[in-house]
Symmetry: C2
Subunit: 123 residues, 2 copies
């Protein structure tokens, strides 16, 4: 891993952060409302707790999410976005806008008559 000039670029670094699996999903869920841990897992849909814990840990260290322990005994935690986190609304909105416009993966993209199938390899 030699230092290439890209690593000096904040945009490059941001992308690095946001492309980690589930990060954008987590932020999207948290933009709606604060959540507890398992609750958040359900809101996101599909994350396993191991990964979620790792992501929340990183996001907290990056100052995007804040964790409030409401009670230890009946364990209850609350994750919510910091100001920096809320500012990611713009990113989510942009994705949202693009999705509505171009993510019509249900309707085939071009009507290719000879193609047997568009082969949309979604998960």
């Amino acid at each position: 891993m030699q230092a290439h000039d890209h690593s000096l670029c904040p945009v490059y670094d941001s992308i690095e952060l946001l492309q980690e699996k589930w990060v954008l999903h987590i932020i999207r869920a948290l933009l709606g409302a604060p959540h507890g841990f398992n609750e958040l897992a359900r809101a996101v849909g599909g994350v396993n707790t191991t990964t979620l814990a790792a992501r929340l840990d990183r996001l907290e260290r990056e100052g995007i999410v804040s964790k409030a322990i409401e009670s230890t005994m009946p364990p209850r935690t609350r994750y919510e976005l910091t100001d920096a986190g809320v500012a990611l609304q713009g990113v989510i909105d942009a994705i949202d806008g693009w999705a509505r416009e171009h993510m019509r993966r249900c309707q085939a993209e071009e009507f290719a008559p000879d193609e047997p199938e568009p082969a949309v390899s979604s998960h």
Copy 2:
């Protein structure tokens, strides 16, 4: 993996697409100008060719990138964004805006004196 309702949501699917490693980097590079394969690898900085080939393949199938073979003999290819791809400018811009505002990772986030290293597991 049972079907959870999220998979019906285009935003969810878009995030799924965009979070694949290097995808946003590739789009950002391609927003600047079309590129050849190795050239693109350099522009992105840090991708290995195996992954790049896989991403371009998917992005082409998704209708975001188009591939033009300019000559086979001295191999020369050109990758560029389709209309749908160019429309992702908005997403990149949003990330860009956020990065400038909040991605000041150069200044330490909290000054943790006992931590040996922030362990930013960048590539």
